[in-house]
């Protein structure tokens, strides 16, 4: 069924730039992945490979399963009752859904930023260093260093450096989201999963986050869900277009936005539907 997804890549010669970048190889591989919420199937036979060190954008109309797919990667969906999956997902060759897999270790390798900001009712400092705390880091210097680095990377440091001990719930919505980004990168994960990280941000903060994503590219593998086509075009190297739980088309961003194979992709990226 997803012939398009598999053929798209072969159909275009990768540019030099992409060749250089993709030399790092693949980090995540998704094979024939299906998912049901109770009776309703939310993902149909998804096949894709995520390249290491690249920014991969997931686009598609609301409700098409982008968040679902993203949350499967760090097994966040384990919390949901009546969930059924079929298929394989591997990270560095390790089956994510194998029985007995170290879920906590897996999640430590994948930072996640959620669609809605979800800071903890703790101080700003404690929020940022939370991943280190649960890792057992006690050294105050190390924590402070990580806090500063992460907040600077998330473009929040200047706003909160005076009030690190204040409750994080007192921040504005956009600040909270940047705080969550800082938290996600505080423990230096390999993969960063971002679910519409900029939906609550103003243009300046958004561009700062985009810069950040650009800086992190190479060191981190980033998978980002976005509804903003320009953003996807600006920051990602690969783009996947999903529709009604299916991966319609997946390939280099340049191609996806200029001459996609599928009619529906074209309609979507040019804003004719969705």
């Amino acid at each position: 069924m997803d012939a398009a997804a598999t053929t798209t890549r072969d159909a275009f010669e990768p540019t030099e730039y992409h060749q250089a970048k993709s030399s790092q190889g693949e980090i995540i591989e998704i094979k024939d992945f299906n998912l049901w919420y109770g009776q309703a199937q939310a993902l149909h036979d998804v096949n894709m490979t995520i390249e290491k060190g690249m920014v991969t954008a997931l686009i598609g109309p609301s409700g098409c399963g982008k968040s679902t797919l993203l949350r499967c990667l760090n097994r966040m969906n384990d919390l949901i009752d009546n969930l059924k999956i079929k298929g394989r997902m591997t990270m560095d060759g390790m089956d994510i859904y194998a029985p007995g897999v170290d879920v906590i270790g897996l999640r430590k390798r994948m930072g996640m930023v959620f669609q809605k900001p979800n800071p903890f009712p703790k101080s700003i400092f404690e929020n940022v260093v939370y991943p280190l705390r649960v890792d057992g880091v006690r050294d105050r210097r190390e924590l402070e260093e990580a806090c500063r680095r992460s907040l600077e990377a998330a473009a929040l440091w200047d706003e909160v450096k005076e009030r690190l001990e204040d409750n994080a719930l007192g921040l504005s919505g956009g600040q909270q989201q940047r705080l969550c980004i800082a938290r996600a990168i505080a423990s230096d994960p390999d993969v960063l999963l971002m679910d519409e990280p900029c939906s609550a941000l103003d243009p300046i903060a958004t561009s700062r986050i985009e810069e950040l994503i650009d800086e992190l590219r190479g060191t981190y593998t980033i998978i980002i869900v976005t509804h903003n086509m320009q953003q996807a075009a600006r920051i990602s190297q690969n783009t996947a277009f999903m529709y009604l739980g299916r991966l319609i088309e997946y390939g280099q961003t340049e191609v996806m936005f200029t001459s996609p194979f599928q009619r529906r992709t074209q309609d979507y990226v040019t804003g004719r539907f969705g």
């Binding site: 966040m76 919390l79 800071p119 649960v134 719930l169």
Partner: protein
């Protein structure tokens, strides 16, 4: 109702609007009235109750004047006037009345008013209160020389001071210097305190030591058998140590006797309105004041000193007088201990039910059962507490650790610990339900945020879920505390007593005696109000004690609420 048809064929016809104006439910008002009415009734009931308790509780200790009533037949009655009520004299009583009195009653359709006087002097009259019908009264006076005397025994005395004898030298009331009586009284009370201190604390300590020696010997006999060398050695050692204790006891007893002799030389002679006099040691007097001759400041002084006595002293006269300190202490200690037990127990149970157990039929059944437990009559918990905690658990503890004290039980009978455990059992459903609600209300996004950071389930619960649920958990504890502190029925079976000789905490090792029976304000109310010889005298105490119990519960709750609100403020979201 007219529906205007839209013009043009392509516009679909609008659905005609229902004439809803006729429907009752279309208006909020009738229900608004019902809601408001229900609220108003509730508030009126609660406020009425609080005002009743508050007014009676606050007014009880205010010194009242003493009236001297001259009856038609010329006899005198003195007492504090209290309430009045209408009554219907029976034919027998009517026939004993004079002609004018009969006419008065007949003019009021056979009804008459009567007033209750607290006449005191139980030792002289064999009654504390007397009803006097209005028609029998010739005059009421408030002579300034009348005094109201509170005594350690026999209740109050109403009358006049006649004389004060200090070491053989007798002064009549007229020759007493102002303030001399009060200063002598202070000295006498001081002597009384010293005697009590010697008899209870010092001799009590000696007795405690002696009891320890006796138990050590018994223990040795139980462990090694009677007549064995070890037992004999223990016996000899005990006798050796007993000797100085014995001597110390004699010395203390002699000292107490000496003070008592000195005390007996100071006596006060009182006389009632009829002229019958009564002489007693001055130290028997708790408080004496000229009821009709008090300035406002003096009244206030009496009032405050009565409250202080009430809050800090032990009860006397079958609990109808004196203070309730042991009951306050017992209630507080029991409630605190209950919370210490019920909080972790309930929270851990709820955590398991909500966070770890697989949600299914079994968990639902457990949950329903827990909810229904809250409806089991509390006396059933009392029976369970007595049977399981006191007899089975306590009995085993006695067999294992205190065999030398048997057959008198240590833990094998009701006590503070068992009462607290029983109440913890009684209130644990409240805590479980409240905690479950609080846990369920923690947003999923927060758990996900924590898990996504690589936290384990337990780390998430400890660092994120529990702190966030804490206000809700505290609400549950507040409810449990209020329920537990006010519960009486089960306590009567598992350790509350009318009069506890010792507090559960004292200066003797191991300082905290959880096995001791204790006093409780709720039981005190029941006891004073319904179990005492003189329920009329106990009535004011019932109100004051109720006021105190409500106050204690309110204070404990207020503390918890302050903590909760402080926590809540932490979770208040700052933006919208």
């Amino acid at each position: 109702m007219t529906v205007i048809e839209p013009k043009g064929p392509e516009v679909p016809a609008k659905r005609p609007r229902r004439a809803h104006a006729a429907e009752l439910s279309a208006f909020g008002e009738p229900f608004l009235w019902a809601h408001g009415g229900a609220l108003a009734i509730g508030i009126v009931l609660i406020i009425g109750f609080l005002v009743l308790v508050l007014w009676n509780g606050i007014a009880t200790f205010w010194p009242r004047p003493v009236a001297v009533v001259t009856l038609e037949d010329g006899s005198l009655v003195a007492g504090e006037p209290s309430r009045t009520e209408p009554f219907r004299p029976g034919p027998e009583l009517l026939s004993s009345l004079s002609e004018t009195q009969r006419q008065t009653v007949a003019a009021a359709d056979g009804w008459a008013e009567r007033r209750l006087y607290r006449i005191g002097n139980y030792d002289l009259y064999n009654e504390d209160f007397r009803w006097i019908a209005d028609y029998a009264v010739a005059r009421v006076d408030y002579p300034p020389e009348m005094v109201f005397v509170e005594r350690l025994e026999w209740g109050p005395f109403v009358g006049m001071v006649q004389a004060l004898a200090v070491g053989g030298e007798t002064r009549t009331a007229a020759s007493l210097r102002p303030g001399e009586l009060q200063s002598e009284l202070a000295k006498a009370q001081d002597r009384w305190q010293r005697i009590r201190h010697i008899e209870r604390s010092l001799i009590g300590a000696v007795n405690h030591e002696m009891e320890r020696e006796r138990l050590a010997v018994r223990r040795a006999i139980l462990d090694h058998g009677a007549g064995s060398p070890a037992a004999l050695a223990a016996q000899a050692a005990a006798e050796r140590r007993m000797k100085p204790l014995e001597e110390r006891y004699q010395a203390l007893a002699a000292e107490a006797r000496a003070i008592k002799d000195a005390d007996a030389a100071v006596t006060i002679t009182l006389a009632d309105v009829g002229g019958r006099d009564k002489t007693m040691p001055l130290s028997q007097v708790v408080r004496i004041y000229a009821a009709n001759d008090l300035s406002l400041i003096e009244k206030l002084g009496v009032y405050v000193s009565r409250w202080w006595e009430f809050l800090s002293e032990e009860p006397r006269e079958a609990n109808t007088e004196g203070g309730v300190f042991p009951a306050i202490f017992g209630t507080f200690a029991m409630t605190l201990l209950m919370v210490i037990v019920v909080a972790p127990f309930g929270v851990i149970t709820a955590l398991y039910l909500r966070e770890y157990a697989k949600q299914g039929r079994l968990v639902s059944i457990v949950r329903i059962s827990v909810n229904n437990l809250a409806g089991v009559p509390s006396i059933v918990y009392g029976v369970f507490g007595l049977g399981f905690f006191a007899y089975i658990l306590g009995g085993s503890i006695d067999d294992l650790f205190y065999p030398e004290r048997l057959p008198s039980p240590t833990f094998g009978t009701g006590g503070l610990l068992w009462a607290s455990l029983t109440l913890a059992l009684l209130t644990v459903p409240v805590v479980i339900v409240a905690t479950e609600e609080a846990l369920a209300a923690v947003p999923r996004s927060m758990r996900e945020g924590s898990l996504a950071c690589g936290a384990s389930k337990w780390q998430t619960i400890r660092n994120i879920v529990l702190p966030r649920a804490m206000p809700g958990i505290l609400t549950g504890l507040i409810l449990a505390m209020a329920r537990g502190a006010g519960e009486v029925a089960p306590l009567m079976l598992v350790g509350v007593v009318k009069l506890a000789p010792e507090l559960p905490i004292d200066g003797y090792f191991p300082y905290v005696h959880l096995e001791r029976s204790f006093m409780h304000l709720g039981f005190h109310i029941y006891d004073v109000g319904f179990q005492s010889r003189n329920s009329e005298a106990g009535k004011p105490m019932v109100f004051v004690t109720t006021l105190l119990l409500i106050g204690l519960v309110a204070a404990m709750n207020a503390t918890a609420i302050v903590i909760r609100n402080r926590l809540k403020r932490k979770f208040a979201v700052g933006h919208f």
